[in-house]
């Protein structure tokens, strides 16, 4: 038998859980667990990047997550969790640079994605030693910054 107090506390916790659950659904929280590019424009900050991607050379072969998250499942969701938290944090508080810029960590993720898909070409043009010394690796994005999306 639940006592009255326990009932009250449970109700409070239930309300808290309910509010949080509803907020999650309303904010389309579930969509962030998928690979759908539309999830990235749930908020309007990346609309320009999204629209540019729909017109880019890569849009038929790669979606956002192909280039912006690692391939393996754990690093992928760790990256999503990290970015998800900081994006929500800055968007909610309204403190972010405009035009938005990629962070060094995310740039490394993208660079790795270039090298993964274009391994054959990359191997041919990398300088000797690139396999064990990242400093010798060619920087794809220095020249091809706009293949995924302009800006």
């Amino acid at each position: 038998m639940l006592t009255g107090t326990a009932l009250g506390v449970s109700a409070l916790l239930g309300i808290a859980c309910g509010v949080v659950a509803y907020t999650f659904v309303y904010a389309r929280g579930g969509s962030y667990l998928t690979d759908a590019p539309a999830a990235c424009v749930n908020c309007h900050i990346m609309r320009e990047q999204y629209e540019a991607w729909t017109r880019s050379s890569h849009h038929s072969v790669a979606v956002c997550n192909d280039c912006h998250t690692p391939e393996a499942i754990l690093p992928k969701y760790w990256t999503k969790a990290q970015n998800g938290f900081w994006h929500s944090f800055y968007f909610t508080l309204g403190r972010y640079p405009d035009p938005i810029q990629i962070t060094p960590r995310n740039r490394r993720v993208t660079q790795a994605a270039c090298r993964r898909c274009h391994a054959a070409i990359v191997q041919a043009i990398d300088s000797a030693g690139a396999a064990w010394e990242p400093a010798y690796q060619s920087d794809c994005l220095a020249c091809h910054r706009d293949v995924g999306h302009l800006h």
Binding site: L12, A16, T92
Partner: protein
Amino acid sequence: MQPSEQTPSPTPTQSSGQLAKFGLVVVVAALVTIAGLALLVSIFERKQEAKNPFFRVVELTDETEDPAIWGKNFPIQYDTYKRTVDQVRTRYGGSEALPRTPTAADPRSVVAQSKLEQDPRLKIMWAGYAFALDTREDRGHAYMLDDQTYTGRQARPQPGACLNCHASTYVAHKRAGQGDLLKGFELVNALPFAEARKLVKHPVTCIDCHDPATLALRITRPAFIEGIRHLKAAQGIKDYDVNRMATRQELRSFVCAQCHVEYYFAGERKRLTFPWHKGNKIEDILAYYDEAKFADWTHAETGAPVLKVQHPEFELWSQGIHARSGVACADCHMPYMRVGAYKVSDHHVRSPLLNINKACQTCHRWPERELEARAQLIQDRTYQMRNRALDALMDLINDIKTAKAAGRPEADLAAARSFHRKAQFYVDFIEAENSTGFHAPQEAMRILGEAIDFCRQGQMTLRQSPSPSPTPKQ
């Protein structure tokens, strides 16, 4: 708590401990609820702001000239448009707000600095022409109509054609032509300035660049419609109709090029004409003027038939790397900005050097100081070369003056005068252009270099021994 009769009542310590636990749970649950709700409301607000790109609160027609009415539908654009009253200097451009005592004839209480006072060589270059009376640094769009109405150049009669680029003339032209834009344009061009001035109310406004029904960009200036048709014909494209054939990205430059170009008033009817019939590089333009035997005035000191160049921003930009890469005027001078969920063009048209983050860094991911230093280096070099070219021009003018005073025959002077015309056109092209070379750095240097060479050649013609006979030399 409802203690049963068998169990003893909890001691006061037990009871207060449970109370504290209870309180803690309530506080935590309350905080979670507050955070959840706050986030929910924030997400709701953000979703709402993204819903409507704009609200149509007034009807706009093809007669709506007043920008304040457009501003009711587009408050963000209107707000930034109003800021063109700002007077801010860059190293070589921009304007300083100088106070002046208003008079009955000129009620302006603030003007920009005088270029003639800054560089007296300009007075000699323009000797005998109205620009030697009063030439000030250009100010923002908000001042274009007043600055033309009250300039000291009005001491010489000016035609209504000036207003093509100093006022919002689209509606005025249509009214004057009773619906026919081209006819109205021809009529207003030929009017004296004071009479034409009564037909217009505003400096450049929304309707000069935007279709009121779709808000799409469109060309409203007959001189540009004709000018670009000639230019395209010179490039092998026949019957070019700019409003039908130009892409949106091209229009984001073309609407500016309705005014930021070299022009002249052709014939007695003062028809505003862009001299692009042979192309829009400097030599094409000069070749056109030579063929049309056009001169703005006869130079007071040398007697050469000379030309005044007017802000050829579009022409110089056309020769630069940004044009080649498809970057439009608006990309740097009216960059996109984010206001809430809206992405709008900044209608505070100004120097990109005052807005490097939005204007340059969207494409060039280098530190702001680095980009600024790079642009200023280009301008420093152009300015130094411009100074040398102006010095060379002063020397040529002096030599011709001396030769004239010494009684050299007209035939001898003719060749030197022809070089004076050329050299001055080249120097003035960069002097009058508003980017101090930035729009096309290499082309600007080439033009100034050639100007110096024309001065040298002009001086050389005077070093030859005087002609024995009065027959003109070829």
